[in-house]
Amino acid sequence: MKNSKSLFISSTLFAASTFTFAASDPVNLNCDALLDQEYSTFEFIDNHNGTVTDLRTSLIWAKCTLGQTYVSGTNSCSSSGAENYIDWGDALSAAAAYEVNNISGWRLPNIKELGSLVDRSCSAPTINLTLFPNTLSSIYYSSTPFKGSSIDANYDHLVLRVIDFSDGTEMPLTTPESSNTSYVIRAVKGGYN
């Protein structure tokens, strides 16, 4: 019933989702109304400029995944264009260089910030699609390194923490090795003010 450590590693790393793109319909068809909703649109301000403010955390989030185009007319995100990053360092610098509507100063979220967008009553993707349309059911990067693995070569490829937004699983990640999913970015700024 336990002894699940090795299982944790394998189940997390290789349980890559077969879902790639979210439904474009922002009605929460991806959510189960019988499960506890972790947040609602009521707790956010949609700034209608490609950013969304989370009143629970004071964080400002990019509405779109990096590479998607923010469409101001529909206040939505293009269904294609999300950039796939295969290197964490490239992802860190890409988030820092992000701009939407001339708004800059972004960064990658840390693992707790990224986790705060997960709504586990939803899946594929496990997020509110009204606030974050066309979120991918893919791996989203965090800025949190995976601390460990100095001793054992079996683990020293584990570099950082990510969340799989197909189902909400969190795990350490190495250089992406799966072609079944993509490795993408949602940028954040602010907090603590």
């Binding site: 699940s4 450590k5 009143l55 860190l92 460990g148 079996n154 923490r161």
Partner: protein, 542 residues
């Protein structure tokens, strides 16, 4: 007809605080009172809420119309900085103005430099010819308010029961930082200073463990220290043996005694259940997130009593009859009375029947967990399950609180210090974990008690040389500590699974609900009436 409305309303108000669902009716009338319209329906007191008022549509009874107002009276949590508009709808067009008096109560303070302002002073009026009216409550950011504040608006018409709208204005709380203060360049992860390349803007360059951490090294690019955040005392101002110590990096914890009173940080005695002692602590309050955590108790060996005859029932008891929160106890996943609903698993205890309360002097335990018999005088189903354990913590009112729940993934994640996660290569057999030892470990036993082995004893009668039977017990302890803790989150599409968190690695995964794991319970600043379990209650508001 009117009486029927009232009886339904009374029933509904009783349940309002518990279920918080749907909308509610409230009647107001102008002109004469409505007693003459109550007779025709007085026999129906079942609370059935399916029939419509037949006179609603008649429109003919001019002069003494009874109006029924409808609105969404489910409790609301308003985040600071947010406005909330309550809309009230009348069932028919009024030919005179219809007034509702609003009385406000709660801990929130009115004023534009305080918690909230309200745009519609009492009374709330439906003007002639208008079937809708509304009021808007605007809330404000305040730097010095940690706790959420309550605001109850009670609407009173000149007939009918008053209806109350419960609002909660959120506290000034944030996400915890991760605890990561070193940088990684993709291979080495213990670099103390900001790496000057594409890895520059990572976790360690941002957040509370820079802003309020006087020991932090400020990055070239990233956040800066901010002494104006005086609410968060700099952790490194004091060492962990200091009475004002609040934790490492960006974490700020305060120990709480079992009566709810904060105690100094160098209090190291873990609470003894049922003993009020201000030198002990049972809970830890997180000043950043506003959450309070019950700390696990030291290990408590479960003893399987010797049987006089093979057919005797199994009797298990706790070595320490009071320590029901022992860190070695394990539970399958089951919803508690507050919050989450869904299918779950439990295991039964000896002595306790499932639907009766325990009796003093009896033992309520099985191989996995146990509960005290002390202070038990009411019926409460007892099982080994996360839900039953949580219900018991609420029954006992641990640290003065009765809104304990199993944490969500994100709540449990909030106290993880990712600087302290255990290397995968070292997890086998280790009891180290990623929570702060100074606050979350029960000092009564060994360090790292929250990642615990299983402890039990199997006893059997043996006949000694003198022919006497004595109970001889054998330890059945495991050496494979379980670092997995339950969360309240169920897995969408897999009702047999729930999310679980490994406190050693920080990984978040799914577990089968019938697996036995540990549980920490959490208390938020959300009052009980704001817990809204999914119900199927039929709401007939028109």
């Amino acid at each position: 007809m009117h009486l029927k409305k009232l009886s339904f309303l009374a029933v509904f108000l009783l349940s309002l605080g518990l279920t918080g669902c749907g909308s509610d009716n409230l009647d107001a009338s102008n002109g004469k009172n409505s007693s003459d319209s109550t007779g025709d329906d007085s026999g129906d007191s079942s609370g059935s809420d399916t029939a419509d008022d037949s006179d609603d549509s008649s429109g003919g009874d001019t002069g003494d119309s009874t109006y029924t107002a409808t609105g969404d009276f489910s409790p609301k949590i308003i985040q600071r900085g947010q406005a909330f508009t309550f809309t009230y709808t009348l069932d028919q067009v009024p030919d005179v103005a219809v007034d509702y008096t609003i009385t406000m109560s709660g801990t929130a303070v009115q004023g534009s430099s305080e918690d909230y302002t309200i745009n519609n002073a009492s009374p709330l009026t439906f003007p002639v010819g208008s079937t809708t009216t509304s009021l808007t409550i605007t809330t404000y950011q305040k730097n010095d308010v940690y706790d959420a504040r309550t605001l109850s608006l009670t609407f009173t018409g000149n007939t009918g029961e008053p209806a109350t709208l419960n609002l909660l204005i959120s506290g000034n709380v944030y996400l915890n930082d991760t605890g990561i203060t070193n940088y990684s360049d993709g291979s080495s992860f213990d670099i103390p200073n900001q790496v000057n390349d594409k890895y520059k803007q990572q976790d360690a360059a941002y957040g509370l463990d820079i802003i309020i951490n006087s020991a932090a090294t400020e990055p070239d690019t990233g956040d800066s220290k901010d002494d104006s955040k005086q609410l968060y005392k700099n952790a490194f101002d004091v060492n962990e043996n200091d009475s004002e110590y609040k934790g490492k990096a960006g974490f700020r914890f305060v120990k709480i005694a079992n009566n709810g009173i904060p105690v100094v940080a160098d209090t190291t005695n873990y609470d003894t259940p049922f003993v009020q002692d201000s030198n002990n602590y049972e809970c830890v309050r997180d000043e950043v997130t506003g959450l309070t955590w019950q700390v696990k108790g030291p290990r408590n060996i479960i003893i399987h009593e010797a049987k006089a005859a093979p057919s005797d029932p199994d009797v298990y008891r706790m070595g320490d009859e009071k320590n029901y929160k022992a860190s070695n106890f394990q539970y399958p996943w089951q919803p508690s009375a507050l919050g989450t609903t869904g299918p779950g698993w439990y295991s039964s205890l000896n002595d306790a029947t499932l639907d009766e309360g325990a009796e003093p002097g009896k033992h309520y335990a099985n191989q996995a967990c146990g509960y005290p018999s002390e202070g038990r005088n009411e019926g409460l189903p007892l099982y080994c399950s996360t839900g039953s354990y949580t219900d018991e913590v609420n029954r006992l009112g641990a640290c003065g609180k009765t809104n304990w729940v199993v944490p969500s993934v994100e709540q449990l994640r909030s106290i993880l210090d990712y600087n302290n996660v255990v290397d995968y290569s070292a997890v086998t057999g280790t009891r180290e974990h990623a929570l702060d030892n100074d606050f979350f470990d029960c000092k009564g036993s060994s360090k790292n008690c929250i990642v615990e082995n299983n402890y039990s004893m199997e006893c059997a009668f043996e006949t000694d040389n003198g022919g006497n039977e004595t109970s001889i017990c054998t330890s059945l302890n495991t050496t494979d500590p379980d670092p997995v803790y339950w969360t309240s989150n169920q897995v969408k599409g897999s009702e047999q699974l729930a999310w679980c968190v490994n406190l050693q690695t920080g990984n978040v995964n799914t577990c089968h609900k019938r697996e036995y794991h540990r549980v920490l319970v959490v208390s938020s600043n959300v009052p009980i009436e704001f817990f809204t379990p999914v119900t199927t209650s039929d709401d007939s508001a028109e």
